[in-house]
Symmetry: C2
């Protein structure tokens, strides 16, 4: 067991002196990051953090203090504490939390510029080091960390992943804010199953032990949403540009490295000029694809510029997206139609029996991506209408819809999107076909009273994180993953 055995209460100074030389910081408690940023040289400061390492050299201890505030997780603050024979010397263990009060000074040591000369060090919580899953100097892998979801943010590797996730979220907010989108919170609880026939969760009020029977809370069956798109369209019709960044839920009993029962999804919906006049205009599917590519590229550039330390750290841990250059540099991706994709499959050895109007499985997407597309990301557009939901706009051929799937190497479908059927009569026919006219009267209403042509897409946050980082399991990029037979905490 790792044990440090030492230190406390060196040179207790008078409170007056400490107060008067105290460094004023933000309204929040001081962090190591803030100390490095503002460099309050020769001032007395107070920090808390975890003890990660300690070395004894002659008359002093050298401690690595870590508080999770630094982007570069390797940059601890070195605390220097002269030894004395304090009678209550505690036995500090790896990972314990301590409170250090001392002076921030220039360091004489060549390895670091600054150090904290401790005046008092006190233990906050000791650490049960023999059972602590993270060992000093032991290599950590995402797979190992996954076993301790609730503790993994104590690990620098997981910290890097979730800092990237946090930056991704903010980059998204900023992108849409700058483009004058209105952010909407679409509901999680819904009477409507947008995709028609997906696996959903039903909700009911918890039956307490006291009551034998509990009436329904709502007047109707209510589900957890699989997509906020239909609700979002009410906002696109109002504001022209709207997005939502919400949880979504699927009850698929799928244990693959891509599937979650609860995940986060960006959904974007934009109104635009319709192609009446044959201008270059948004609701031509290509324009939607251009907007989508612009988003991916802007996000990638933003995240890369702001998280370069994090990406270096991942690479050092052998995690690297081999496809990220595309996001950063490419202004376009190949666009093939469903029909072309089917022809490619039928010309192959493995899939020459591909049926008419068949849906693509992951195996088909992989073949197309690896063999036909030379392992590049690409779009498949214009699927047969019978494979897709009622809301997609039917093309002039009356056989296909104006939609896209974006297929990414080693991930598969990263996004799907389409132009929406905005013509009242056409939408009514489609709803009738699916026997949804009664349930979705409100959605049809959007077209009954004017209604703009809109198009949009969804982007799974976790899959996008996998794509830009190269992390290959979705359970590593969401803090408390929920999937079949797994809901810890």
């Amino acid at each position: 067991m790792f044990r440090l055995s030492f230190i406390l209460n060196i040179r207790p100074s008078s409170r007056q002196i400490i107060y008067s030389s105290r460094f004023t910081h933000s309204i929040y408690p001081l962090t190591i990051r803030e100390v490095y940023d503002k460099k309050p040289l020769n001032q007395s400061i107070n920090l808390i953090g975890y003890l990660l390492n300690a070395r004894k050299l002659k008359t002093h201890y050298f401690l690595d203090l870590f508080d999770g505030s630094l982007t570069n997780n390797q940059k601890h603050l070195q605390v220097v504490a002269s030894f004395n024979n304090h009678p209550d010397l505690p036995h500090l263990t790896y990972g314990c939390s301590i409170n250090v009060q001392g002076k921030f000074v220039q360091s004489n040591h060549p390895k670091q510029e600054f150090e904290l000369q401790a005046e008092t060090i006190s233990l906050i919580n000791s650490s049960d080091a023999s059972n602590y899953p993270f060992k000093p100097n032991a290599e950590q892998t995402l797979l190992m960390l996954r076993k301790d979801e609730h503790l993994r943010l104590r690990s620098p590797l997981a910290q890097v992943v979730f800092r990237l996730r946090s930056q991704l979220m903010f980059s998204l907010y900023e992108y849409f804010y700058k483009h004058n989108f209105v952010q909407i919170q679409t509901p999680c609880l819904t009477r409507n199953d947008c995709e028609g026939g997906g696996e959903t969760f039903r909700i009911q009020p918890y039956k307490s032990h006291k009551t034998q029977a509990e009436k329904e809370y709502f007047n109707d069956q209510v589900y957890l949403t699989v997509s906020g798109q239909l609700h979002l369209e009410t906002a696109a019709n109002g504001f022209g540009r709207a997005y939502t960044l919400n949880p979504a839920f699927r009850a698929d009993k799928n244990l693959s490295r891509f599937h979650l029962a609860e995940f986060w999804m960006l959904e974007v919906e934009v109104a635009g000029t319709y192609n009446y006049l044959n201008f270059v205009c948004f609701t031509k599917l290509d324009q939607l694809l251009n907007a989508y590519i612009d988003l991916l590229r802007t996000l990638a550039i933003d995240i890369y510029s702001k998280c370069s330390e994090e990406f270096k750290y991942l690479i050092k841990n052998n995690i690297q997206s081999t496809h990220i250059d595309r996001f950063l540099q490419q202004n376009d991706y190949p666009r093939i139609s469903y029909e072309e994709a089917v022809n490619y499959l039928r010309n192959s050895v493995d899939f020459h029996n591909f049926p008419d109007d068949g849906d693509f499985t992951r195996a088909h997407e992989n073949y197309l991506c690896q063999t036909i597309m030379n392992n590049q990301a690409f779009f498949i557009i214009n699927y047969p209408k019978k494979l897709k939901p009622f809301y997609m706009s039917i093309n002039d051929d009356d056989a296909t819809v104006a939609n896209f799937d974006f297929i990414f190497p080693s991930i598969g479908e990263l996004s799907g999107g389409s132009l929406r059927e905005h013509r009242f009569e056409n939408l009514k026919l489609r709803l009738d076909e699916f026997d949804l006219t009664h349930d979705l009267q409100w959605y049809l209403d959007l077209r009954r009273f004017g209604g703009m042509p809109t198009g949009g897409f969804g982007l799974g946050i976790e899959r996008f994180l996998m794509a830009i980082t190269g992390i290959d399991n979705v359970r590593d990029v969401i803090l408390f993953p929920r999937y079949y037979q797994h809901c810890d905490g």
Copy 2:
């Protein structure tokens, strides 16, 4: 019925000319807002929008085009179209959507600076004006709009409300980004009921008609979260500063103007130096309150500066928060203890029988706020431990906890927060008391392995919106409200 009866296809111009003089805009379809921003004078542009008004004067029609892109919803774009006897003249109705192509020019009319000289106007979707709930020039109220949740974003009044909401969200993201917080998405699906005994929703996979019995999807009972706090604490222990802005769910059968079954909640959790050394430091409750006040004030200032048009519009519609000046100016609010609050109640006529360790109802809060606090917002701190959950830090008196409720005039409890019990032994005792040690082993683990002292609070997004706008019903500030017996769409 309102009917406009006119117009189409004036001076069809050659496509070449239109293309060559086309104004290049952002990757998204052009909006009226962008046109006003960039003023592409004498250039040919293409816009879609709703027709809100039309006047015929001599040889021309004057149309008000509205596309929802403008912050100031009164600023439509005036479209000028010379009359001609086009044989296919459609009958355009109030609220129909049209596509206008024409030249953006300086206007001669004193009432507006610019106008769009239409070359072609085409109908996208007509509007069933007799059934359209929003009538031209009719006054709209939030109560009326609530009847048509799915259409209300077509109304300027609702647009103003949801623009404010969107701005609030972004102001929050920005505040925490600037303060180096990490944003976490805590799960909606959880085995844990943080508040202990609140009304919760249980989930189960939807039973399809095909299968008679469906096994549980998870291995255990799973609920919709009532708070992400416990999960968020794992992040505060890792990063020091973390927040979440997530949906939360309560199954209360409460039809009051404050209650929703699904609402959005900001939760903030910050690690900080503990009060061992008697310094001025975060985990003294006062410091947590200071941080909370700083947040409210920063948000209010930011939203006010960015949405002045929206606030003017609300005031014009007789909606105004009479307490907002406090948010903007006040650096502090009165802080009274639970004990003091009880004494005030017992000295009153109505509540002189208030019991020992009794919990406050809305009536009590109202009395304290209106009569004792002169209708000011205020804090009640240090509640008896028996009234509060296990995770709150017990004060030295061993009778009260270091918590706060923030009471806002006409809203009631706007926020609650506390220091958390970070000492392993103390927390274990509390969990044992509540018989939660087995279920919350993971939460206890946070203290078993070091663990920092943290404090935090929650802020209901909808209630905060009510507080800053003066809107008095929570159903008006969330797009698709869910409450007892109500889940539309």
